[in-house]
């Protein structure tokens, strides 16, 4: 049966790497951030999560990072129920994820190399490994010649590429990008998106939360649309929904 389905889609169906089952989150002020969300994301997928402000997109990212706990429902990442994960196991779990933010969140007192190396240092990689991995990942994001530069000497696009390198250097299973183009001009936005696409093609599952209509429409990837905490649309090769 599975083989028949795979033949139908002309590509193998990967097992789900992220599963949200009836996930709801109500904050202490009785605000329902997300309500009864059911999502399955397969290994190697590229997914956009779109929606207006307050639609619950960022709450989803926080739930996946286990920064917050769901009020109800189950969240599985790479086959593990993370809602039952013990606190002391959270750091190890997070090493499966790479995260990129709208405001880059680079360490201003460290240069490009050190910012990327920081991600490996905090998970206690040997120095030799760090010295081998960092230049290679900086070359992937096109910043080999900026290793010594400090964040303030870089453009927005370059800073986001450093953040991307930092997210990727630990070879995560999933890359979560929260509004990665929010602070960038169209040219830089496209460069970052091309990079994310390239990373996805290398096998990393990519989940991008964004407002950027043009990019979502042009890239023709899976689009999950959120509105007021509810998932209102989930479309393969979709575009930015007109309902929001």
């Amino acid at each position: 049966m599975r083989k028949e389905v795979e033949e139908l889609f002309e590509e193998p169906i990967e097992p789900p790497i992220i599963v949200l089952e009836h996930v709801s989150k109500t904050y202490s002020n009785d605000v329902d951030a997300v309500k009864d969300i059911n999502i399955k994301i397969r290994k190697g997928e590229f997914v956009f999560i779109v929606g207006s402000s307050g639609s619950g997109k960022s709450t989803l990212i926080k739930l996946l990072l286990k920064e917050i706990e769901p009020t109800s429902g189950k969240i599985y990442v790479n086959g593990k129920d993370i809602t039952r994960l013990r606190r002391r196991n959270v750091p190890k779990f997070r090493r499966n994820l790479g995260i990129v933010f709208q405001d880059f969140r680079l360490l201003k007192d460290r240069n490009v190399f050190e910012n990327v190396a920081f991600a490996q240092r905090v998970i206690e990689k040997p120095i030799r490994t760090i010295q081998r991995n960092v230049p290679s990942i900086l070359s992937l994001v096109g910043l080999s010649d900026k290793q010594e530069a400090f964040p303030k000497e870089l453009s927005g696009g370059e800073q986001q590429r450093v953040a991307l390198a930092r997210a990727l250097v630990n070879n995560p299973l999933i890359l979560l990008a929260d509004e990665p183009t929010g602070n960038l001009d169209p040219k830089n936005s496209w460069e970052i998106m091309s990079l994310l696409d390239e990373i996805n093609k290398r096998g990393t599952t990519v989940v991008v939360v964004t407002h950027n209509v043009e990019i979502v429409d042009a890239m023709q990837k899976r689009v999950i649309t959120m509105n007021k905490g509810v998932m209102i649309n989930d479309e393969q090769k979709g575009g930015y929904s007109n309902e929001i």
Binding site: P91, F93, L97, I99, E124, P126
Partner: protein, 302 residues
């Protein structure tokens, strides 16, 4: 934790101190003041105890026997006393020795008067043991024991001096402990404030570390290192100063209060610092550890 991570934490600990210079200096200053005062109290206490110890050994207890007690009885009593663990030394003073001493002390220039006694010994029943104890605080118990030995007529002791020395010793100990505890609390509070400042300065970095998958241990250790370094520096400064002033201080006291020079006994500098250095360093590290652990547990939850 890997060696490279330990090196990283130490480096970051020093960086934190440098970034937070003013607060770090305030913390170091408080710990230094606290441990300086501790050192002074320790000097007083250690030297006082030393003096008391020497004085204690010179406070003798005289034990007299029933009239007509035989030498065998006296020897048996001596054996019983000697068996007590608190006895440091004891000596036997025979009736003849007692009379000889009395003659020398009282009738030194009145040989004629002495001659009237001829061979009579007016202190014929005044043989005694003079006992010196290790610790003057054990005196009441010891006296109680000896008074109940058969054949003992009378025990002479200096209760007041013994009790006075012992009470003063305890009072000084409690007083200094109270002041030191108060200062320690202030020092821990200041270290905690310094580290809280450090955490707020590095909030962004910490949040990134946590999201990338740094363990609690890795995130916390630079701040704990910071606390330990502050504590260690805070301990080393007063030790250095106290080392410089100790000999001058005892010479000064010896000269200024020469009247007390027969009573006061001072410990040798190496003897004092042999104990003070490890205690002060341990206290410095302890203050740093407690202050930083309390703070990171409060502010650095993943």
């Amino acid at each position: 934790m890997k060696f490279s991570s330990i090196v990283y934490s130490i480096k970051q600990g020093f960086k934190n101190i440098h970034r937070n210079r003013m607060f770090s200096l305030a913390s170091i200053g408080t710990i230094a003041t606290c441990l300086f005062l501790f050192g002074i109290f320790y000097f007083i206490l250690a030297n006082f105890r030393y003096t008391v110890k020497i004085e204690e050994k010179s406070v003798g207890i005289s034990i007299f026997f029933d009239d007509g007690a035989t030498q065998e009885q006296i020897d048996a009593i001596g054996e019983q006393i000697k068996a007590r663990p608190e006895v440091a030394t004891m000596e036997y003073i025979s009736a003849e020795q007692a009379w000889e001493k009395y003659k020398q002390d009282t009738f030194a220039n009145e040989q004629e008067l002495v001659d009237t006694f001829q061979d009579d010994n007016p202190l014929a029943d005044s043989a005694s043991y003079v006992v010196y104890l290790d610790n003057v605080s054990q005196q009441p118990e010891f006296v109680e024991y000896v008074q109940h030995i058969d054949g003992v007529r009378k025990v002479n002791n200096s209760d007041k001096l013994a009790k006075g020395l012992s009470d003063f010793n305890i009072l000084l100990g409690y007083g200094s402990a109270a002041i030191i505890i108060l200062l320690l609390a202030v020092a821990i509070f200041l270290i905690s404030t310094t580290i809280t400042m450090g955490i707020s300065v590095r909030k962004e970095e910490i949040s990134i570390m946590k999201l990338i998958g740094a363990t609690d241990y890795f995130v916390r250790s630079p701040f704990i290192v910071e606390g330990i370094i502050i504590g260690l520096i805070g301990a080393m400064i007063p030790l250095f100063i106290l080392y410089l002033i100790y000999n001058q201080a005892i010479t000064y006291i010896g000269q200024k209060f020469s009247i007390l020079s027969n009573i006061l006994h001072f410990l040798n500098i190496n003897h004092v610092f042999g104990t003070l250095i490890p205690i002060s360093l341990a206290m410095g590290v302890g203050i740093g550890l407690i202050g930083s652990i309390i703070t990171v547990r409060k502010h650095l939850r993943v």
